[in-house]
Every structure is written in C-alpha cells, then in structure tokens.
C-alpha cells in the first residue's frame, strides 16, 4: 500500500520530505530499547530435569503419598457397609414375583420382604441408599429432559414447560409438572427397615427423610410455584407425569416442607447420576444415644413396596446401608492408589539415584559432549 508506506515512513521520521518539514531535533532513533524484556534477558529460572535435580522430589512424593494412602485405606476400611440386592431377577429372591408381574400402570402394590443379618453393629449415623445398576441416568437426552425453571417455581415454565421435556411435556392437553423423562422415571419403591429382636418381634427403625438432598438444591434450585402453601392450587392445571401414581403435590402430604418440587426424594432423583451404576441417598438412620449402636448386629427385614421396574434393561436394585467418614463412603481405591504411586515414586527415586551416580557425576565433571 502506497498509502501506508507513506505513513510508515513519516512515522519513522526518516522520510526526507517529512524530515524537512519537521525541522530540527525531532528525529527519533529507531534504536530498540535496551530493556531486559525487549532483549529477552529477563532473569529466569532454568530448571534442568536431570536425575540429580529431581531425586528429592521423587522421594518427597513417595514419603508423602504412602502415609496418606495408608490413612485413606484405614479410613475406608473402618467404614461399614452392607448391601442387599432386591431386584428379584433370581427365582429364589423374595421379590421375584413382584419383579415378574410388573407393570407401570398396575393399581395394586406389590410388597416383598427381604430378611438379612448384620454381622457387625453400625455405630454412627447410618445412611441408607438405594442403588441402581445399568441405569443410564447420564444418557444425553435423558439428562436434558427436564425444565429447571419449572422446578425453580417459575409460573410460566409451569404452564408451558421447556421443549427439552418432549415427549413428557404435556399429557392430555395439560402441561406435565414436573415435566421430562427424569421426573417421569422417578424411583418410587418404598423401603422400610425392621429390626428383629431376639424375641422375634419386628421393630420399625425410624428413617429420617429430610436432609438427604443438597441444601442448595432444596433451598435455592427447587421451589414450589407460589411458595409452599396450598400446593393443590398452585399445581392446578397441570398434569402428573405419566408414570407417576400420584401428582407432585401429593408426594409427601404430611409435611408441606417436603412436598411438591421440594420433596427431597424427588430432588435426589433429579440430580442425575454420573455413571450407570449408582446409589442415591434414601434415608438417614440417626444415632439415638452414644451408648447403643445405631444398628446393632442381628437380624433385619427390608420391606419393599416394589414399584420400580429394572428388569426391562437388565438393571439391578440394591439397598445399601453405610456409615460414612470424612472421605465419604467406602472406597479403598484411593488409598491403594496413593500407596502404589508413593511406592513407585520411591522406587523411581532409587533408580534415579543409581542413574545419577552413573551418569550425572560424569556429566558434571568431565563433560565432553559427543
């Protein structure tokens, strides 16, 4: 560009014509600034990764990781966990019949009882989970199939849910509340736990159903339309999800703080699991006194109101009782991993020490590169 080249020259102050116009003393030298930055001479730390320099790092990693790993492993081992499969896929299973004769629309409820024995007492608070296997709650279209605005109590979204909810958006001309496939497939088995005394009587163990969802979910993300009073009115003009037996405002009629969208079972379900085998918190068994264990060892019976079909996709249903620690549920993996990695690092450190003696000394003293 001629234009720009005029320009450039004028800026440079080297343009003969411009120089004459400009007169005296305005020539700006083009000499680059002699600064450390522009001359690429900024002080720099130049680590060279050689056996000698990184040796300590490996040993330090080893020394830190191994104790952590041991700690984690021990903690994980101290966690007590009991798991029982009640799918009923197997003919010996008490729930076989319920599983067999299942249909979403059946009006009669099928109940089955699974007896089990706890070998060890569960000392602290016990968390009761239900577990599903092979249930792809993380399927892309399933995950999307919800309307967060609706769940957040937005009235317009209540009346016209997001298109993402299709085909569970409307039913019989009315918008579904809560819409979408996730809500539609809400886990609806009811589990009850009985302790069998030594004398054979069944004592129902009190299960706390509040406090199982994230606090933020319960109080921020999920809201009933128009507050918690009179949900029947609030949800007027909406339809229940097709698979549900009762409308959303009947999820927990006794407790208005646990009803409608803020029903905690519902909220827990709506937090879609990351992996196809997952567990979800169902109830909490609180420790009553410091002297007696929460769940003493002995015989128990799990009463299941069997509503939820899983055999159609080769799924499994489990009930899990678990105590938890600061690191969550039982998982020996992390501890083992830490121990392994720590050991490997330690081993590598030794190898490097040998290498360092063999090579680095040579390099540092009589280094003639070849």
């Amino acid at each position: 560009m001629m234009a720009s080249s005029y320009n450039a020259k004028e800026e440079d102050g080297n343009h003969p014509g411009a120089a004459n116009h400009a007169g005296a003393g305005v020539v700006k030298s083009k000499k680059p600034d002699n600064t450390a930055f522009k001359q690429q001479r900024l002080p720099a730390w130049q680590p060279i990764l050689t056996a000698g320099t990184v040796l300590p790092a490996f040993f330090v990693i080893g020394l830190i990781f191994i104790p952590i790993g041991i700690g984690l492993y021990v903690t994980s081992n101290n966690i007590k966990e009991f798991e029982i499969d009640y799918t009923g896929a197997d003919i010996n299973n008490p729930c076989y019949n319920c599983a067999k004769n299942f249909s979403w629309n059946s009006t009669t409820q099928c109940v089955c009882s699974v007896p089990f024995t706890l070998e060890q007492p569960f000392e602290s608070n016990v968390f009761m989970y239900y577990g599903l296997s092979n249930f792809y709650q993380n399927h892309r279209r399933y995950v999307k199939s919800r309307d967060d605005s609706q769940l957040n109590g937005d009235r317009s979204a209540l009346k016209s849910p997001s298109k993402e909810c299709e085909p569970y958006r409307t039913s019989e001309g009315q918008p579904i509340a809560p819409c979408g496939a996730i809500a539609n497939s809400l886990f609806n088995d009811t589990l009850e736990l009985y302790h069998i005394d030594s004398n054979g009587s069944r004592n129902e163990i009190p299960l706390v159903k509040k406090g199982i969802a994230w606090w933020t979910d319960k109080h921020v993300k999920f809201r009933n339309p128009g507050g918690n009073d009179n949900l029947t009115v609030a949800f007027q003009g909406t339809s229940k999800p097709v698979n549900w037996r009762k409308p959303v405002f009947d999820l927990d009629p006794e407790d208005p703080d646990n009803n409608g969208f803020i029903n905690e079972d519902f909220i827990v379900w709506m937090r879609t699991a990351a992996l196809p085998t997952f567990r979800k918190l169902y109830r909490i068994i609180q420790k009553k006194s410091s002297t007696t264990p929460t769940l003493p060892s002995g015989k128990y019976v799990l009463n299941i109101t069997y509503n939820y079909p899983v055999l159609s996709f080769d799924g499994r249903k489990r009930m899990i009782l678990s105590t938890i620690s600061w690191m969550g549920g039982k998982n020996p993996f992390l501890g083992i991993a830490y121990i392994t990695v720590g050991s490997i690092c330690f081993f590598l450190g030794v190898v490097l020490l040998i290498i360092h003696h063999k090579y680095d000394t040579r390099n540092n003293s009589a280094d003639i590169p070849n």
Binding site: M1, M2, A3, Y6, N7, N14, P16, G17, A19, N20, H21, G23, A24, G25, V27, S29, K31, P32, N34, K38, Q40, A44, W45, Q46, I48, L49, A51, Y129, Y136, N138, R140, Y142, V143, D148, N152, P167, A181, N184, T216, V220, T272, A274, L275, P276, T277, F278, R279, L281, S312, F313, W326, F333, L334, A337, V341, I355, D360, N363, I368, P369
Partner: protein, 1322 residues
C-alpha cells in the same frame, strides 16, 4: 448534471472499458474542456487520482469480512459444525452456545481487519486531501487543489520538496536545462537523486510555461508496474512524433529535489500510477512448519473420524443390547424411538460436534499471535540494530519466522552483501603500465582498523587540501588524525543516514601514485598539442566523465540532511535560521526562488562559485545569509587558498553505483575534477586549472547484458566525437581493435595482453576490475548512427532491444586505455559469521557476477575457502566437455570421499564454477549430477552469473535436495534469487532497496545473519514447534476425557463438563500460557547459541517437530486423558455422584495436568511465565466459582449451581486432584529426567553449560567446539585470515578460466590441491 439515457451510459461505460484496455492511450489536455460536464471530457474514461486502498466499505464490512474469513478451511469447518448443531437429531449442545467459540474467534479477526482497514482509510484520506497545484484555465494560473481532484490530462505543478501526486510527463522545469531531480526513496528506497528531463519542444513560450498552448496528444502505453520503464510519444498538431521514456516521467510518490518547480502533464492517475501498481500488499508465504502442521491436522481429522466411528458403532451396539425400552431412553417428540442403526448414524455426527475441538480451533489464531510476538522480539533486538543507518531488522513477511531456524543452504551475493559495497580506488593500469598506488594502500591500511564501519559526513568544511602533493606521507598522517577526530564527532551526532553515501574520506580521498603523477604532470604533456592524444589524459577523462554521477555541492547535500546537521549543531544561530527558512519555504513556498539561488548557480557551473570568490568576505556572508555558516566558512577557506582544487572540496558526487563515485574521486585526486553534469554537457577541470565543457551527445547506459556503459561526447578542443566506454574486462576485451596510439612505437604494442595480465592480478587480489577504452567516432558515422538511435528511441515495441542494438553497433573497435582496480572491502565480522554459519551445518554458496579469481579471493578472505581445501575449478565451453568434466569430477570426489583416510572430509571440497558452465550444468540432463556434486562440496562459488541464473541455482538446489534455502543479497540483481528461496533476506546497503522490497527480512549487515539465524531462528523454531505440539496434545488430552465418558453413558454424546466451562477452558484458561510459551520460552541462551553454532543443527531437517514427536505427544495425551478420567472414575464409581459434580474434578485435574505439562516443557521461567501460569489457575477458579455461585437455572441441563463450592469443601477433591495429576505427568517427567541424564541432547548440555559462570562456560564452549571442529581450532590460531595479496592462496589456480578461454581451450578441469596429504590432526 444533465440527464442521460441509460443506454448512453452503458455505451459510455463500454467505451471507457475499451479505452482502458487498449494498448495505447491517447491523452489530450483537459484545459479546453474545463468547466464542461463529465460526458464531454476527453479523458473521462481514465481513473481519477483519488485512491482507495481499503478492502471494505462501512456497509459491506460484515459480509465481505465474513467472505474473507471463510477462505480459511478451519473456519468453514467450525462454522459447519456449529450449523450441524442446529439439526435437532444430531445436536450435542445448545446450538446457540456452540456458536460462541467460532464467533469469538471470527469477531477478533474481524476487529483486527476492521482496525487495519480503518487505518488505511485514514491514510488514504490524508493522501487524497493533500494539496497540489493544478492549472486552471479560468484563473490563468496554478490553483491549489487536492490530490484526489487531479485528473488525467491536467497540468500539475510540483515545487521543491513536494511529493508528486500522479505520474507526470515532465514538460517544464525551473531549470534552464529542463532538468528536474527527484528522490525516489519512497518508491524503491534509492536515496540518490535522479535526473529527469523535460520534454523539449513542447513548451511553446519559454520561459513562462503556458499550459494552454499545449495542443498535442500524448500517446502512452497501458499502465504497468515497471518503475524503470515507460513508453510514450507526443504527437504534435503537425503530426511530428516525439518519443519520451522514463527519463521524462515523474512518478507519483517521488519528491522533487534541487528543482524549484516542475510542471507535468498527468498521464496516469490514482491506482493506475506506477507506484500504486507496485503495491501488492504483504506477501504470504507458507512456512515449512505450517506445511507439516497441516499434515498433522489431517491426522487429527482421521483420529476424530475414528473416534466418532467408535462412538457411533458403540451407540448402535448399546442400543441393540437393550432387551426392551428402558425408562431412561427418551423417545423423540412424537413418542417413538429411532432404530438402533439410525440412532448410530446420527450419533456419528453428534460425536463430531462433541469432539470437534480435537482439531484445535484456536491453533491458527495462536500461531499468528505467537508470530507477531516473535517478530516483535526480532525487530527489537538491539544487536540487529545498525547505528550507522539507524535501521533495525525488518520483517516483511510475517509468517515464516520459524523457517529461520531450519536453513540448510545459504546463497549469498558477494558485492554489498559480504562486502561493504563501498568502493575504494586501489590501483590502475594505463597503457599497460601498472601503478600500484602504494601510498594509498598504506593510508587505507592505517585507516582500516578505526574506520571500519563509520561513514563520515562530508558536510563539515574540510581543511583545504593541497590537492595532491608529492609528500604523500605527510598528508597521510595529518589526514588520519583528522579522520579520527571526525569520526568521533559523527559518533556524537549519532544517528546517521546513509543517504549521503560514498562520502567517507576512505572512499573519497585517493593519494595519487607518485610515478603516475609525474607521468601526467610532465611538462611536455601540458601543451595542448599532445593533449589531444595523450592516453593518460584520456584515461582520466574517461574516469571523470564516463559515468552517470550527479554532482552536488555541499549546500545541496546539507539540505538533504538538515535534520542531521542541525541536531548536531544547534548552537549555531545561523544554522537554526536557515532551518527556519527552510521550514517556511517548504511549507509555504514563499522563499523558494530566493533560497535556491546558490544552488542554481551550482548547477550551471563552477563559474558562479568562482565569481563569488571575488567578493570580499563580509559581503559574501551577507549575500549568502540564507545558506548556513558552514557554507560560508568553506567559501572563506577557498578564498584564502588559491588552489582551484580547494573549491572543489564542496563538490560531492552522487552515483548510482559506488564504483562510479570511487572512480570520479580517483580522477579528482589527479586533478581531473568533475565539476558539473547536465544532460547535455559535462564540465571537467583539468590539472592545469582550465575547465573543459564536453557536449554530451549520448549516453549508452549500463545493462547486465552488455556489462559496460559508454558516453559519447564532443571534445571541446578537437571537436571530435569521442566515445568513452568502460566495462567488465571480458565485455571489453573482445571489442578492442588495434592498440591505442600506434604511433607511440612498438613498445606498447602489447597493451591488451599486459593489461589483461594486470587485470588478472587485480582479480586475484580481490579487486573489482574495469577497463577503459576510447573510440573516436567520425562525424559521418555519428550522423548515421544518430538516425538509427532516434528511431530506436521513438519505437514503441521492443524499444530496449533496439536501443541496445544501437549501443552495440557503436561500441566496436575500441582502443584500450587502461584498467582500474577497485577494492570492495569485506564487511566487518564476515569471516566469523561465515565460519559460524558453517559450523551450524549450513552450506554457504556465493553467487557473484565477478570474475572467478575475485570470487575465490573473497572466498579465502571470508573463510569460505580454507587453505587446505580442495578446490575444483569448473569452466568449459561446450556441453560435451561439461558433461565429461562433471562426470569425472563426480567420480573423483566420490572416490575421494570414500577413501577411508578421508572419512569426514566431504566438507573440504570447494567448487568454483562460472556462469557459462553453470548454464550447462543446470540443463535438465546434467542437473542431477551437478547437484550431486554440489552436495558433496563444502562451498560452491558461482562466478559471473546473471540474476536469472542465481534464481535458477536456488530453485534447482531447493527442489532437488529438498532443503530449506535462504538467499541474501543487496542489489536489484539479487531480487530473483531472493524471491526464489524459501527465505529471502535483503541487505539494505548502498544499492537501493529493490532487494529489501522483495525480501522477507531486511537486515543492514551480513553479520546480523548470524544472530538472526542462530539465535532468533533457533528460538522461533523451537518455540513454535513446541507450542504446536503442545497445542495438539492439549486438545487431544482434553477431548479424550469426553470420549472416555462415552463408554459410560451409552455413547450418547453426553458431557460431564458444563459447556460454558469447556469453551472457557480452551478460550481463556489454557490459551495464554502456550502463546506465552511460544513467544518467550528460551531453551538456550543467546550467548550459548552464538558460542556453539552447532546447536542450530537441531532445527535443520526435521528438528523438534517430527512425526515422532507429534505421535509421542498424542500418545501421551491419550495416556494422560485415560488417567485423568479413570482415576476419578474408580474413586467415584458406585457412589451418589452426579454428572456435573463428577465433571468438576475432571475439569480441574485436566487444567492442572495441562498446565503442569507445559511447565515441564518450559525451559526458562521468567516473571511473565509465573504470572501467566498463576493467573490462568486463578482465573479458572474465580470464573468457575463465580459461575457456580450465580448460575441457578441459567444453563440447563448442567446447572453448575454450587457444585465447585461443594467439591472444594470436600477433602477428597484435593486428594483426587493431587494423585491424578501426579500419575498423569509421571511418565513424561520421568522420561525427560532419564533422557536428560542418560543421553542428554546437545541442547540440554548447552543449557547445563548456561548455568555455569561466564568464564567456565567460555572454557567449556571452546572445548566443545574444538572437539567438534578440529579444523576451526587450527584456523583460529591464525589471528587473521590470509591477506589477499598477490601471490598467495589464489596461486593454487595456475590456470585461470579467463586465460583458458582466451586460449580457446574448452576443457579446464583443475583439481588442484596441495593437500591430498592433508595435515594430520586427528
């Protein structure tokens, strides 16, 4: 404007189209039509002078810019994917969100384009609205108008120091001789003034030029971009045709100098002007790295398709396996599910969208940014700055910086590239007698160490030189003392401009040879009778007048550098006054006529100056008050000293080529002073003090084919037509007739042979040789020749050939006068640079137009050739001979290199080949053999090559050997070569800017090449290569996380990371560190790279960026992504973790892994590195935390609300992040450690040395180099290269090709060497 029918408009437009396309254009004056509407204007079809260089208009910016951007394949790809996302069955993300990255990137690009275009618009506006003078018939005078109002056919007046607004056919100037000087530095960078002549016979009423009386038609050719060529003729009303060429054309963009005003007829305006046609914008070259990169991008595409196929098939199988419809399978809106195969098919596209960033979207943008940064650092390198010319290195092509690090072959010009191109007269031979000029040689030897690179400005009043005295030694010492002083001053004044080239005392002063001086000052020679035929006189006349040197006085020179001088001497009141006057003069043109009086007197002749001398001093000071004190001072000096030579000290010569100036100065030293030159006459003062005015009949200018120039003058005394010719010896020798002055008895019969002998000696000494001849042309011959000449000049078609033919016709039967040897000194540090480049594994070839002897000598001087080298000299006359020579040389060389005793002596063979032989060797059937031979040679010198051959050599080597080539040159004859090479480097030297304009990088000294290649080249290459590899790694590692997740979500293309965070991850969190890495990382320090040039070899060939490194990093990426996915997976399996809570640690882990991976790769951590790295991590946490705190329902389905917060409250999160990062990076880290410990690369060793303190490091470096290159040590013990004197190394060529040519020998194969038994140094 009257209404016209559309039909007429269309017809008019078509006619205009035809008129513009026609080969010849008829242009008439606009004046008779002034005021009429547009349809009646005769020149309405031609473009106006307004220019528009903007690409876009305000309205069309968006569509046009989009169109531009979609030329990029990558952009189309990403937009295609974004559009694909809008198709409901395959979409993976919210379609609108998916558009964000591509939009951001395209917006950035558009902003950049828009801003650049706006700048262009502004500068266009500024230029279009510049004022100029156009003649108006109504006002009967020149009126001030804007540039954009200038139309073809207008008459434009340009005054002193103004820029010419359009291409003007010069009709009239203020100079009585019709001469106008222009400075074309805006166009081609040549700073010497050029003369342009007004067309004579058109201005009807002198001295007042009347544009209205112009009633001829100007017929000119179609516009073209050749700046040195123009054809046109003017047809007068009486049908007489007058031809005109480039010498009558003022080009747009030039500045009028030394001329009060000039009036021209606009022939081309606006975009049709030559300068605008020459503007092709910046060039785009694709670097080698980028070519490789594109291949790897294709690999990435294949990888992507494979992964998508896996996803698609996986989805199909997963669906197949389901026994019935599970509740989590969502049917589409009409309630039924697609068949597994159809879903699988759709899934393929969904997967492409999901995994799209496997093709790094930001890579191209990042590379551009990195290159801008690299160029910033290159141009800011203070070591590549030249104080003398105040110039930095310039990067003209912006995208091949990394190619600098991969050069394998350098092709260098000699003159001006290896040498200074500042010519110093050294010796001459007249009539077969040699005059060695020993005193001069001594003076140069004394000066040399000090004045190596300083240009001394001749503006100060020089102490009156006593011309030449016989006490040369005395003046000598005085002289050097003075020069030292002067140098110091010029250093103080600082930034010099090279404008006033060829004026250092080194070049301008020649101490005459005593013997020669006696010869010409012999009393019997001074009588006019013998003067006519005195060959000595003729020789010096030839020196003085056979050139195109423009004479300017110190005054004129001062004006050109007023800035410089005034900055140096602000304490001079007179000086500042003169500046003031100058300023006002140039802006308002009030004082112009007053001011230029002294200068005009200069152009007329010396007489006026002499006249002034007769005034007494005080009067004179007042009289010349406008001129500054210095001028006055010098006049005073001259008045004190009666020696006429003293006045001539004010003269300075501006020549197109430095040897011309050197010769004129040499003549001046002998008292033959060129006083003035006008197109029609040359004034020369003889030693006797009388001035001779030669009428110049014609000038046959220099061209590369003839290799000579001639000037035809009428001798003022004898009234004979004399033709003085000078040229290269081989171009002259064959044109000689009988020895000159036969009457001078038989003792000088053999002048030609003697001179040839001297020439050969000169050449061996490394001097540039020129022969001078004279020919007396009889009037009859002249007349008939003139007719031919005129015809040729007026011809429209192939005028050049015709003109050249006429020149050849006249240049026959020349009589030899003598020859000159001019030294062109090597630039400083050339040998060191050459040695370093060679150690760096670069082969250096020299392609020169000089004689083989000169080239070989320079080769030794700059250590291209070593004493013990085997030099193969190839020169043959026909192809048959050439073939056999090539064959047996090749055989010889092969045998030589296969000889077990010479295991690594391949390096020590040098090939010298001349242009003629080269032509044959490069013919298609011999090419391969030649290249094979050249490959085995350490050095190749090609002599007497034409510009075209230069480029051919480069092309052949580049294509046959598939190597990276670099061509470096300074002159117009190197342009072809510069353009043919992968990288062209122009040296901004004495020969104008053509080479620089054509080059990719422009430097000012050859030695800068060392740092440019060894340091910047290496850095740029390693930085960019590592950055690109890292970029691929980064994207693969990140995308694979998503891919592994597909195995756990039924291949449903679900993501566990919030899409916004994914976008941010690439756009913000991890984008700056690699860019900074690409700009600033420093694997080895500059000192180390310069100290151990061998480190450069790492970049040659494949370098760091190979298939191997690419795939290794891809595999590492796979490994790391596996670790980053599966460790969290194993930790969280069968827990109540939800999708996005699972994704958060994954995202965090990959951030740490990716950044720490970079940390392993970063070789030097500066403050910038720390800041950028820490800021990236901080940005990630701040943005993610803020996002998770605010987004309650904003981005379904991910709902990141409070996820990171809850994770960060969990100790597991930290434990998980730590171990995963460690496991992911452990292999790479260990690999680096092991490699660096067990088999460290030279680079690592260099880095280790870098950490030592300076003295130890130097010791190591020395040891290293000595270990590698034994030859160098041996050499370096010699303190300086063999001095190029007669009788030293060049003697190993007993048979010079020239000699053999003369003898008609058609086979010369000299495999000469004293050293098949080379010194044992193993």
């Amino acid at each position: 404007m009257t209404w016209r029918s559309p039909l007429a408009l269309v017809r008019d437009a078509l006619r205009g189209q035809r008129a513009r396309e026609k080969d010849l254009r008829n242009l008439a004056s606009n004046l008779p039509y002034e005021g009429l509407d547009k349809a009646k204007q005769p020149n309405r079809y031609f473009l106006g002078n307004g220019i528009k260089t903007t690409k876009y208009t305000l309205l069309l910016f968006i569509p046009m810019n989009l169109f531009e951007q979609f030329h990029r394949l990558a952009n189309i790809y990403f937009v295609g994917l974004a559009i694909l996302n809008f198709v409901p069955v395959v979409n993976a993300f919210q379609p609108e969100v998916a558009l964000i990255p591509i939009c951001v990137i395209m917006c950035l690009a558009a902003l950049k384009d828009g801003w650049e275009d706006f700048r262009r618009y502004q500068s266009d506006n500024k230029i279009n609205n510049t004022l100029c003078f156009i003649y108006s018939r109504k006002e009967k005078q020149f009126m001030e108008r804007r540039w954009k109002d200038v139309r073809v056919g207008d008459f434009v007046k340009v005054v002193y120091n103004e820029i010419v607004p359009a291409d003007l056919l010069l009709l009239h100037t203020s100079d009585p001789n019709g001469v106008c000087h222009i400075d074309t530095s805006n166009l081609d960078g040549e700073t010497n003034l050029k003369q342009r002549r007004a067309m004579s016979g058109l201005c009807v009423s002198d001295p007042e030029f009347e544009p209205e009386s112009f009633n001829s038609v100007v017929v000119c050719e179609k516009p073209n971009n050749n700046l040195n060529h123009f054809k046109c003729y003017v047809e007068k009303p009486d049908k007489e045709k007058v031809g005109a060429g480039i010498q009558s054309l003022l080009l747009r963009g030039c500045t009028v100098k030394n001329t009060d005003h000039a009036v021209g007829f606009v022939v081309y305006a606006g975009h049709e002007t030559k300068s605008m046609l020459n503007n092709n914008g910046p060039r785009y070259k694709r670097s080698k790295l980028e070519r490789k990169l594109n291949i790897n991008v294709i690999f990435c595409v294949i990888l992507l398709l494979t992964m998508c196929l896996v996803g698609s098939v996986g989805h199909f199988l997963w669906l197949q396996k389901l026994p019935s419809v599970p509740p989590y399978l969502v049917p589409n809106s009409n309630g039924h599910l697609d068949s597994p195969s159809l879903s699988g098919f759709y899934m393929f596209f969904t997967m492409i969208i999901l995994l799209q960033i496997l093709i790094p979207i930001s890579l191209y943008v990042s590379i551009e940014l990195v290159k801008i940064g690299q160029i910033f650092f290159i141009t800011n390198d203070i070591d590549l700055y030249n104080e003398e010319t105040d110039s930095r290195v310039q990067c003209k092509t912006l995208n091949i910086t990394e190619d600098l690090g991969q050069i394998e072959y350098i092709f260098s010009d000699k003159t001006g590239t290896l040498t200074e191109n500042k010519m110093v007269f050294r010796r001459c031979s007249i009539m077969g007698t040699e005059y060695p000029h020993k005193e001069n040689a001594i003076r140069l030897a004394v000066l040399e160490p000090e004045s190596g690179e300083e240009v001394i400005f001749n503006q100060r009043p020089r102490p009156p030189h006593t011309g030449w005295s016989l006490h040369a030694e005395d003046t000598n010492s005085e002289d050097t003392g003075y020069d030292h002083d002067n140098q110091r001053k010029s250093k103080v004044t600082g930034n010099a401009q090279s404008n006033v080239a060829f004026s250092s005392p080194l070049e301008t002063e020649v101490i005459p040879d005593r013997k020669l001086l006696q010869q010409i000052s012999r009393p019997d020679r001074s009588d006019s009778g013998s003067r006519k035929t005195d060959p000595y006189l003729d020789f010096f006349l030839g020196l003085a007048i056979c050139n195109t040197v423009v004479v300017s006085t110190a005054t004129a020179q001062r004006q050109r550098e007023s800035v410089f001088s005034s900055s140096g001497q602000t304490n001079n009141p007179l000086d500042s006054l003169s500046n003031l006057v100058k300023k006002s003069a140039s802006t308002r043109h009030i004082f112009t006529s007053w001011k230029y009086k002294p200068k005009r007197s200069r152009t007329v002749s010396e007489d006026s100056v002499v006249e002034e001398d007769h005034f007494n001093t005080p009067v004179k000071i007042e009289g010349s008050g406008v001129t500054d004190g210095l001028q006055t001072c010098s006049l005073q000096a001259s008045s004190q000293c009666d020696d006429p030579a003293a006045t001539s000290d004010n003269l300075s010569y501006e020549a197109e080529s430095p040897d011309e100036a050197a010769l004129v100065y040499a003549a001046k030293a002998y008292g033959f002073i060129l006083l003035a030159r006008t197109p029609d006459s040359v004034t020369v003062r003889l030693p006797s003090g009388e001035d001779l005015v030669f009428e110049v009949l014609d000038t046959l200018t220099f061209d590369f084919n003839r290799k000579r120039m001639s000037i035809l003058v009428r001798h003022p005394i004898t009234k004979e037509c004399v033709l003085y010719t000078k040229g290269a010896d081989y171009a002259i020798m064959e044109l000689l007739s009988t020895p000159y002055a036969e009457h001078l008895s038989g003792k000088q019969k053999n002048i030609a042979a003697d001179t040839q002998h001297h020439l050969d000696c000169y050449a061996k000494e490394g001097l540039r040789t020129l022969c001078f001849t004279k020919k007396i042309v009889t009037d009859k011959v002249y007349e008939s020749w003139t007719v031919n000449r005129q015809r040729a000049l007026a011809a429209m078609d192939n005028r050049e050939e015709l003109v050249m033919d006429t020149a050849v016709q006249l240049e026959t039967d020349l009589s030899l006068l003598g020859a000159t040897g001019i030294e062109d000194r090597l630039q400083e540090s050339v040998p060191e640079t050459v040695v370093a480049l060679r150690e760096a594994g670069i082969q250096v070839w020299v392609l020169t137009g000089d004689k083989p002897e000169t080239a070989v000598n320079i080769g030794y001087a700059c250590r291209l050739l070593e004493e013990e080298d085997l030099v193969i000299n190839m020169s043959c006359k026909n192809k048959l001979a050439c073939t056999s020579i090539l064959d047996c040389t090749l055989e010889e060389v092969r045998r030589y290199s296969e000889d077990p005793r010479n295991v690594d002596t391949r390096q020590d063979i040098a090939l010298v080949i001349d242009g003629h032989t080269l032509t044959m060797a490069l013919s298609s059937d011999l090419q391969d053999r030649f290249v094979d031979l050249a490959k085995r040679c350490r050095t190749v010198l090609c002599c007497r090559v034409t510009p075209l051959q230069k480029s051919r050599v480069v092309k052949v080597v580049r294509e046959k050997l598939k190597v990276m080539t670099l061509a470096v040159g300074d002159g117009a004859n190197d342009v072809n070569m510069i353009q043919a090479a992968d990288i062209g480097i122009g040296i901004s030297g004495q020969e104008g800017m053509q080479a620089v304009m054509a080059s990719d990088f422009a430097i000012s000294r050859f030695k800068h090449l060392k740092k440019l290649l060894l340091v910047h080249g290496h850095w740029c290459y390693t930085r960019l290569a590592n950055m690109i590899i890292y970029f691929f790694y980064k994207n693969v590692a990140y995308v694979n996380l998503l891919f592994w997740y597909q195995f756990f979500c039924g291949f449903s293309a679900n993501t566990m990371i919030d899409y916004w965070l994914m976008i941010f991850f690439n756009l913000f969190f991890t984008s700056v560190p690699p860019i900074m890495f690409g700009i600033m990382d420093k694997d080895v320090s500059a000192e180390m790279l310069l100290g151990v040039p061998e480190l450069y070899r790492t970049g040659q060939g494949a370098g760091e960026y190979t298939f191997f490194t690419f795939w290794v990093s891809i595999l590492d990426a796979f490994y790391q992504s596996l670790v980053c996915f599966f460790i969290p997976y194993l930790v969280y399996q069968d827990s109540d973790i939800d999708v996005f809570t699972f994704g958060t640690p994954l995202n965090t882990i990959s951030l740490f892994t990716i950044l720490l991976h970079l940390s392993i790769e970063i070789k030097a951590w500066t403050v910038v590195h720390w800041v950028v790295m820490l800021a990236s991590v901080a940005l990630y946490f701040i943005v993610t935390l803020a996002y998770s705190a605010m987004c309650v329902t904003c981005n379904p389905p991910s709902n990141p609300y409070w996820i990171l917060q809850s994770q960060m409250a969990d100790p597991m999160f930290y434990l998980l992040c730590t171990i995963t990062t460690v496991v992911a990076l452990l292999p790479r880290y260990t690999f680096h450690v092991l490699r660096n410990s067990i088999a460290p690369s030279p680079l690592v060793q260099a880095r280790r040395l870098d950490r030592l303190d300076v003295s130890t490091r130097d010791e190591w470096m020395k040891e290293w180099r000595s270990f590698r290159g034994i030859g160098q040590v041996k050499r370096s013990r010699l303190s300086n290269p063999p001095s190029p004197t007669l009788g030293t190394p060049a003697d190993i060529h007993p048979q010079s090709p020239t000699a053999s040519d003369i003898m008609g020998d058609d086979l010369t194969l000299n495999v000469i060497s004293e050293n098949f038994q080379r010194p044992v140094h193993k």
